[in-house]
Amino acid sequence: MACAITVSVVGERIDPARVFDAFDTSSADDDGAIAQFCGRCRGESGRLTALEIEHYPGMAEAQISSAASNAASRWPISRITVIHRHGKVHPGETIVMVLAASRHREAALEAVQYVMDYLKTDAPFWKREWLTDGTQGPWVEAKASDDKAHKRWEQP
């Protein structure tokens, strides 16, 4: 099954409603299911003023494309779109969006989950905190729970 894959890494603010609308309105008649995930910058109860996201240009796009291709070979999805932000992102702004369309819900929902789990551990992005007092905070540490989430998709 041919799957249309769209990947972008952007430095400008993402308008999530526009991304969703574009995906939704260009869906085929037989796309009975559209699953979507938006990851947003958290304010951490007022502690953060921003997250600054550094990335490895070229490799970031390549790793995301690879995740999307893996998803397309694993589930019968007709389209998958991934958009990831870099640069300074403020609380409430969108960091990442993953959208997948399929005939049935399981494929679309699982493909989105898979790509998110993959991105967390394998896409070359690094987040650093900017604090409300105006100072630069620490780099965000990788989470063991993300490694675990990634591993559940490994096939025997």
């Binding site: 990851g39 996201i53 550094e54 990335h55 490895y56 070229g58 490799m59 970031a60 390549a62 990831h84 960091i95 990442v96 998110m116 991105l119 967390k120 551990t121 394998d122 896409a123 070359p124 992005f125 690094w126 987040k127 650093r128 780099w139 965000v140 540490e141 990788a142």
Partner: protein, 84 residues
């Protein structure tokens, strides 16, 4: 010459984002590469203790410490990724 890139806190600790390096023929694997960088000068010495923490990419593909990196045009060293 190989183009070497550093990201995030690795970049900050080594004090530069990229450089071109002529690697000696003795550097065969990603692990050799980290050892060679760590021995090169004081700014890179922290890589001795971070060898199992940092990640290495060769031509924008993730590699393990035992993987052969000879012939790569671009190498990169960076912390575990925290995207998504």
């Amino acid at each position: 010459m190989v183009s070497v890139k550093y990201f995030a806190w690795v970049r900050e600790r080594v004090g530069m984002g990229e450089e071109d390096i002529a690697l000696p023929a003795s550097v065969e694997t990603a692990g050799d590469f980290i050892d060679w960088l760590a021995a090169r000068d004081d700014e890179f010495a922290f890589l001795n203790e971070q060898k199992l923490v940092v990640r290495v990419a060769a031509d924008q593909q993730m590699v393990s410490l035992h993987d052969d990196i000879r012939g790569a045009a671009e190498l990169a060293v960076f912390p575990p990724m925290t995207g998504g």
